[in-house]
């Protein structure tokens, strides 16, 4: 790999051993995949050091103590606890205390303590075409597809990218990798694609068929930012999709031809309402009219407008006994929602507005419950409007699930029953 003089100096230790080691890892990584050079990054979204992973918080504290500091604007992904209200989610006090310690490490490193899966909604929006390194598959696909900001699926090495501000020029940072590979045409009336859950179901269907390739989707007109978010999150869950194009909507696909870089395939797969029905069927394992004990809204983290709508629906009502309902978001949005009175309205009903975490990232994972002596499972039956959440909670929390629209979720929370 070719390094410029300042990169070579960095590798040789001119900026200290922490930076030199970090760059050495990135150079080896790039060489393994044939990258010719490094690129300067505009932004990183850092992997949260989660308290539920043994040694993770301690490792973050040690890295900060070594003097590691980020060089580019860097936000941070979700934790296992709500750090401002550490025990409000039922997180064991010892785990919450461990998790909260990581905030200090991030602060010292210069990482913004955002703890969210949707940093784009906090203003971390680099210019079109910028190279970045992110963790969190739903954010990665949104940045690539909706913002035209380039990132691979950053893993462990997102840390070293943030410390050096560099990344090997490879994968989705390259033009060639961003070419559409598969064409899906959606033959579903627009009026039946008007709720968030429907876009999640669409993403679950296509993702399962396209794997890690780049789908180009026609026949749809997403009029809400959260529909694009839900679609992408689901594509990245049922497949490992990193980038999609919607001609006329997403920025690298002004036309069908541009989406495919001029090489439009002859075949397209048609998606019908029946395909979406199959997703609902697969993700719904709660029997009709059976009791439910948990409702999740906010996967990925809800926007202020979505929270406003939940507040309007819950105003003056009470959740059924024994039902918990989390509306998950980031702290900045929760603060605004408090200012606007939405949090107070929602919490008067018995539901909770939760920041920094979500059920699947929380202490409610079966393995964590066992470590902390909590009953398993923490949830028997969860209703949710997100295909991504439901894909993971069955295995990780050990609950039955139902996928439906937000009104259906709220009805379940108020009645304590799943009504298809």
């Amino acid at each position: 790999m070719h390094l410029n003089p300042s990169e070579q100096a960095m590798l040789d230790g001119a900026e200290g051993p922490v930076v030199a080691v970090a760059l050495d890892y990135l150079v080896q990584f790039g060489e393994a995949f044939g990258a010719e050079r490094l690129v300067d990054l505009a932004y990183c979204h850092y992997p949260a050091e989660m308290g539920i992973y043994e040694g993770s918080v301690e490792d973050a504290l040690a890295y900060a103590a070594q003097g590691a500091r980020v060089r580019v604007p860097t936000s941070c992904s979700t934790l296992c606890a709500d750090v401002e209200r550490p025990t409000s989610t039922g997180c064991p006090a010892t785990l919450a205390a461990l998790q909260t310690q990581v905030v200090d490490a991030h602060r010292r490193m210069g990482i913004c303590e955002t703890y969210t899966c949707t940093p784009q909604y906090l203003g971390f929006v680099p210019p079109f075409g910028a190279c970045t390194c992110l963790v969190e598959s739903s954010a990665i696909i949104y940045y690539n597809s909706v913002l035209g900001v380039r990132t691979n699926r950053g893993g462990l090495f997102t840390r070293y990218a943030a410390i050096t501000g560099k990344y090997p020029l490879m994968g989705y940072l390259l033009d060639a990798q961003r070419r559409g590979t598969h064409w899906f045409h959606v033959d579903i009336p627009p009026e039946s694609l008007r709720t968030y859950d429907r876009w999640c179901a669409l993403g679950m269907h296509i993702g399962a068929r396209v794997g890690s390739e780049v789908p180009v989707i026609t026949g749809i007109r997403p009029d809400r930012q959260e529909w694009l978010l839900g679609l992408g999150a689901a594509l990245a869950t049922s497949g490992s999709v990193t980038l999609f194009h919607i001609p006329g909507v997403t920025p690298e696909a002004r036309t069908l031809e541009e989406a495919f870089h001029g090489d439009v395939p002859a075949d397209r797969r048609i998606v019908t309402a029946a395909d979406l029905d199959a997703v609902y069927e697969a993700q719904t394992t709660i029997a009709p009219h059976a009791p439910i004990d948990f409702v999740t809204l906010g996967c990925p983290h809800y926007t202020l407008e979505q929270i406003r709508q939940v507040a309007a629906a819950l105003a003056g009502k009470r959740l059924a006994d024994g039902v918990r309902c989390w509306i998950c978001t980031n702290r900045m949005t929760r603060r605004q929602a408090e200012f606007s009175g939405y949090v107070q309205t929602i919490e008067a009903s018995g539901a909770q507005v939760v920041a920094d975490t979500c059920p699947v990232e929380s202490h409610m994972r079966q393995s964590t419950c066992r470590d902390y002596g909590l009953p398993v499972p923490q949830v028997e039956a969860m209703v949710c409007d997100s295909g991504k959440m439901l894909r993971y909670v069955g295995d990780l929390i050990g609950c039955r699930t139902a996928l439906t629209h937000r009104d259906g979720c709220i009805a379940a929370a108020l009645s304590g029953k799943w009504t298809p």
Partner: protein
């Protein structure tokens, strides 16, 4: 044929007896973290220890949690001396292998799964891009 060209993923050289696993391999689930032995039911080397061996297999499955297992094996001194895979590796496994600092290569130019036998002494020089059988094989 005793010498194969391979693609370097992690630098370094190491030698040891070959441990040939013809199918896919997952560090998460196929290995006992306590003793570093293979526990996967379908693996012909079930019960064998990875420690000190040149682990050779077709492709990695279940990569995400596997890198943590690999790092744990290194920390406990139970890791293989080197790893060679027939198929290309993904980013996730490459990151884990770089952090684990185990010489690692992939994409050999020959049929190493059939031409090398378990127990044969082999040597990987990842930097030179060479995997070679160092003994007479018998």
């Amino acid at each position: 044929m005793n010498v194969y060209r391979v693609r370097k993923i992690v630098r370094g050289q190491a030698a040891g007896p070959a441990l040939i696993c013809p199918g896919s391999f997952s560090f998460l689930g196929d290995v006992d973290l306590g003793n570093g032995r293979i526990i996967a039911a379908g693996n012909p080397n079930r019960g064998q220890a990875l420690r000190g061996a040149v682990l050779i297999y077709r492709e990695t499955k279940g990569s995400s949690g596997g890198v943590v297992v690999l790092q744990t094996l290194v920390r406990k001194g139970l890791a293989p001396a080197a790893i060679v895979t027939v198929k290309p590796v993904d980013y996730n496994l490459a990151e884990g292998a770089i952090l684990a600092q185990i010489p690692f290569a992939c994409e050999p130019d020959g049929d190493i799964l059939n031409e090398i036998r378990t127990g044969e002494p082999v040597r990987l020089d990842a930097d030179a891009g060479v995997l070679e059988i160092t003994g007479d094989g018998l």
